[in-house]
């Protein structure tokens, strides 16, 4: 672990200016960052502690939409009454993450911006593609936890629990940087390794993710977040699914947004599955067809084909449960 100094700016503009300078890295909860420093993946000269920034640790409702500051803790998200009621999938995604201890430390911003868990990437002795090396060791190596969709040239999976749930609600990321403020749809925020294997999102140097804004859901929309993991305590999902479904009185699907986590280098929205459902009467058969459609683009590696049936099962269950239909499969 290298030596570093810590600075704690109190306004976002100052923090942004510091972060645009070489050798500066942002610190929020520190859950991932401290690991990354120990693993010699980042070796910052200066940590810019964001925790002194004002107003970024609050959840605020305004005309139905909800604004979640990037410094809000996962535990707050999991237990906030408005989020639990309006955005159940978001609350559950936060509540399923890690351990109670970590959820009291880890922030929303950190959850979205955490680096991948790939065991080659995390190993200080491996110089992999994502660290500027020449090859992805997972591609032909030990890849049981790696991408089944959207991989290449790197095969990481995006580790965020919250991202699929936010995207299922059409959330936006508010970003403040050296050249001002911008708002990006969270769905467009994450970057495939095809375009740049060194990054997972389009945040530029000096830019700070300040808030996530979730629009008000339609009245009939119901949501769910499901994840499958090997261990029930403190484990990363093998697959997660966030589903937002709105049906009319005769259970015809009017709106469907379906996003998978841990299957691709980015949170993976499935328009194929959504289009299968929209306009159809919801039952086990159509949910299973949507699940098949969602996993059609899957091209598993040598050791992770088992994630395909898991993803299909979770997708079918999530669709039915969000739609309030009993699973008869």
């Amino acid at each position: 672990m290298n030596r570093f100094s810590v600075v704690a700016p109190t306004d976002v503009a100052h923090a942004s200016k510091l972060l645009a300078t070489r050798g500066h890295v942002a610190l929020a909860g520190g859950v991932d960052l401290i690991d990354l420093i120990k693993q010699e993946i980042v070796e910052p000269a200066h940590l810019v502690n964001l925790k002194a920034l004002k107003g970024m640790d609050r959840i605020e409702s305004d005309e139905g939409e909800v604004r979640i500051g990037a410094l809000v803790k996962l535990h707050q998200v999991a237990t906030d009454p408005t989020i639990r009621r309006q955005y159940t999938a978001v609350a559950d995604a936060a509540g399923e993450a890690a351990t109670p201890q970590i959820r009291n430390l880890a922030t929303v911003g950190g959850n979205l911006l955490q680096r991948p868990r790939c065991w080659y990437f995390r190993n200080p002795d491996v110089d992999c593609l994502k660290k500027g090396g020449l090859r992805c060791y997972a591609k032909d190596g030990l890849n049981r936890y790696h991408a089944i969709i959207g991989g290449g040239p790197s095969y990481i999976v995006h580790p965020s629990n919250l991202a699929p749930a936010f995207i299922a609600f059409g959330a936006n990321a508010r970003i403040v940087g050296p050249s001002g403020e911008r708002t990006v749809q969270l769905e467009q925020f994450f970057v495939l390794p095809k375009s740049d294997p060194l990054r997972e999102n389009l945040l530029e140097p000096g830019e700070i993710l300040t808030d996530v804004v979730i629009p008000a859901p339609t009245r009939a929309a119901r949501s769910i977040y499901l994840e499958a993991r090997e261990k029930q305590s403190f484990d990363w999902p093998l697959v997660s699914v966030a589903a937002v479904i709105a049906t009319d009185g005769s259970q015809v699907v009017r709106e469907a947004r379906l996003v998978m986590g841990a299957v691709a280098p980015i949170p993976w929205r499935s328009p194929e599955a959504e289009n299968t459902l929209i306009g159809a009467r919801l039952d086990s058969n159509i949910a299973a067809r949507a699940a098949e459609a969602a996993l059609k683009p899957a091209t598993p590696l040598a050791q992770n084909a088992y994630k395909v049936p898991i993803a299909k099962a979770l997708m079918r269950r999530a669709v039915l449960r969000a739609g309030g239909i009993e699973d008869t499969a």
Partner: protein
């Protein structure tokens, strides 16, 4: 074994307590032999200045150490009897220890307290040594037991949850039911790791273990722990002066086997390698 002038006794032995309750049971054995309340017996361990003991392994700590402690306590008791004999005007061979006192066996009202005897210890303390002699011949010295597991398999995701484990063991004489149950709990939890999670993953191309961290090397957590029922069947044996058999690993090894059989019973096909991970369950069921 040492008796001090202030009336307390101390076990000193070069063993270690790695969370199994060794320190507790050594004090209990000494307290029983000296007929003292447990609060007046201290156990000092984990120091190479003390007499040699065996390593904590092979479920051998309790059966190896307790007989030596008992013998040392018996020797110390006889030394104390020799000091008490003139105080009671009796022969040392006619004395017995009872409830914190030393008394004449055939006339229990003639008694002197352990503390009063200790006060007459000429120097600072009185000590005695004991050793672990070989097992007495003609007695079985192996543990016996059986375990049962109830598991739930999600046949679509291959994910296994353990609902119940019942462990029935003959570990010889149980010194302390609480720490013995705790040994079963620990063994079962480790067995769940063995059965479902733990695997050292080596990439031969780069010569590295890819999962050397607590993040990637998976161990059971609180939510992975089932209801655990421990039942002890104490079959009398005469192999040592305590009759204690080992316990820790018996509960560990049997758990994985029981869970493997329970998974077989649930999905109808056996999974022949450990850990029984979702990929192996789905492969066994022909779903991958």
């Amino acid at each position: 074994m040492i008796a001090f002038r202030d009336g307390h006794a101390e076990v000193r032995i070069g063993t270690q307590d790695i969370g199994t309750g060794t320190r507790t049971i050594l004090a209990m054995v000494a307290a029983e032999e000296l007929c003292l309340p447990l609060a007046r017996v201290n156990a000092e361990i984990g120091d190479t200045r003390y007499l040699y003991s065996v390593p904590s392994g092979g479920s051998g700590t309790a059966p190896s150490n307790t007989p030596a402690v008992r013998q040392a306590a018996a020797h110390l008791r006889r030394k104390l009897f020799r000091m008490a004999a003139p105080m009671l005007g009796a022969d040392p061979g006619d004395l017995e220890a009872h409830d914190g006192a030393i008394r004449v066996r055939f006339e229990p009202s003639r008694a002197v307290s352990f503390a009063d005897v200790c006060r007459r210890i000429p120097a600072d303390s009185l000590s005695a040594e004991g050793e672990r002699v070989p097992n007495y011949e003609g007695f079985r010295h192996d543990q016996a037991g059986c375990q049962f597991a109830e598991v739930e398999v999600d046949s679509e995701t291959g994910i296994i949850r353990v609902l119940n484990v019942v462990a029935v063991h003959d570990a010889g004489r149980i010194i302390d039911p609480l720490t013995a149950r705790s040994q079963i709990n620990g063994g079962v939890i480790m067995g769940i790791g063995f059965a479902l999670f733990e695997e050292r993953r080596l990439d031969p191309r780069v010569g590295l273990m890819v999962n050397p961290t607590m993040d990637d090397y998976k161990l059971p957590g609180p939510l992975d722990v089932p209801e655990i029922t421990a039942l002890f069947v104490e079959v009398a044996n005469g192999l040592s002066n305590t009759g204690v058999l080992g316990l820790g690993e018996a509960a560990h090894v049997a758990t994985a086997a029981a869970m493997g059989c329970a998974v077989y019973d649930a999905i109808g096909v056996p999974v022949r390698s450990l850990p029984i991970t979702p990929d192996r369950v789905l492969a066994a069921m022909g779903k991958v």
